[in-house]
């Protein structure tokens, strides 16, 4: 089962894609995706209900968030009422250890994304400040990376023993599915996804040329 774990819709300030248009694009282009996770910037979209689209297109649509920390951007999966009160999703300087701890204690899972990127990537901060405990998984394939960024992500992930996931980081419809994550087991819910990320029964994939 393949999911794009990092996508943005019009609910993000720089997102220009409607979720329905993602769905019809995936089907029209016959992309090998079984679903997407919406990771809107600095917020959790508790309101949108995509069940009708899921049924119409036969896709899994889950919701998470991309938050900003002092070590770069981080995807948080399994967001719930407890987590949104544990730290301020809108802040741009959340301490990474606090985000990792909050995600864990609330039953979720946090994954630093595009870690090879300057300033907003985990590894650019490791140079000066050293590694952070409790990071287990990072995004090693990101559809928005410029040349060199994903290479660095993979090298550093290997060095620190982190597992990897992939996501397109799409902000427009036609970028969906450039990178994704393949899961060994079926994923039907966010709980399934968090479990799979914890156990590592998944593998990053890329279709970027």
């Amino acid at each position: 089962m393949i999911l794009d774990l990092h996508t943005h819709s019009v609910r993000s300030d720089d997102g220009r894609a409607k979720v329905a248009n993602y769905c019809q694009w995936i089907k029209k282009k016959d992309l090998p995706l079984d679903g997407v996770v919406l990771t809107e910037h600095r917020q959790f979209d508790a309101e949108s209900d995509y069940r009708e689209l899921e049924d119409q297109y036969g896709l899994l649509i889950l919701k998470a968030s991309e938050v900003e920390t002092d070590y770069g951007h981080v995807l948080v999966f399994g967001v719930n009422e407890d987590m949104v009160h544990a730290f301020d999703f809108a802040r741009i300087d959340n301490p990474l250890p606090e985000v990792l701890a909050a995600a864990k204690s609330c039953g979720g899972f946090a994954v630093p994304c595009h870690p090879g990127r300057r300033n907003v990537g985990l590894f650019s901060h490791y140079e000066e400040r050293g590694p952070v405990d409790d990071v287990e998984v990072v995004e090693i394939y990101n559809g928005g990376s410029i040349p060199g960024e994903d290479e660095r992500s993979r090298q550093e992930a290997d060095r620190y023993g982190y597992r990897g996931i992939g996501g397109s980081d799409s902000h427009i419809v036609s970028r969906i599915g450039l990178c994704a994550t393949e899961f060994a087991d079926d994923i039907a819910t966010m709980d399934d996804l968090v479990s799979a990320l914890r156990t590592g029964r998944c593998e990053a994939r890329t279709w970027r040329t």
Binding site: D13, D14, H41, I92, R117, N119, V120
Partner: protein
């Protein structure tokens, strides 16, 4: 650039019209704009065409001359162009006498490859001599922290 400051500034400034201007759409500038952008459609590059009009992005440059209200608080430095959007209600034609109002539509902070950034969205609304809407341009101006 703490978030609390941005929130306060947003509450105070968003929605305020801080500048108005009147302008006449210049034929030569329209033409030069279209040609240098690579337009080949005669509607944009032939002044004698019966439907001669400004190319799509033409009104975006009118924002360049004005940045922020005089008494707007100092946030970060620089003024990088983070993006422009334009929405058209009707074509803009040579000789049109237009009125424009400028307001701050949004202010928010985020981080990117170049560091901490504050986005100030500057919205310019164009109307014609009858007050009918012509176009709206949003300019996402980036100040760096």
């Amino acid at each position: 650039m703490a978030n609390v400051d941005i929130a306060t500034i947003r509450d105070e400034w968003v929605g305020r019209v801080f500048q108005e201007l009147d302008l006449v759409v210049d034929r030569e500038r329209m033409l030069d704009w279209a040609i240098s952008c690579g337009e080949t459609d005669p509607r944009f590059v032939d002044p004698d065409h019966p439907d001669f009009q400004a190319s799509t992005a033409f009104p975006t440059h009118i924002n360049v001359a004005r940045m922020l209200p005089d008494d707007f608080p100092q946030i970060g430095t620089g003024g990088i162009d983070g993006g422009k959007s334009i929405e058209w209600q009707r074509p803009m034609r040579a000789g049109d006498r237009l009125h424009a109002e400028v307001q701050i539509a949004d202010i928010y902070a985020k981080t990117g490859r170049s560091g901490t950034m504050v986005f100030i969205v500057n919205r310019m609304t164009f109307t014609d001599a009858d007050g009918a809407p012509v176009a709206t341009v949003d300019w996402r101006m980036i100040r760096q922290g």
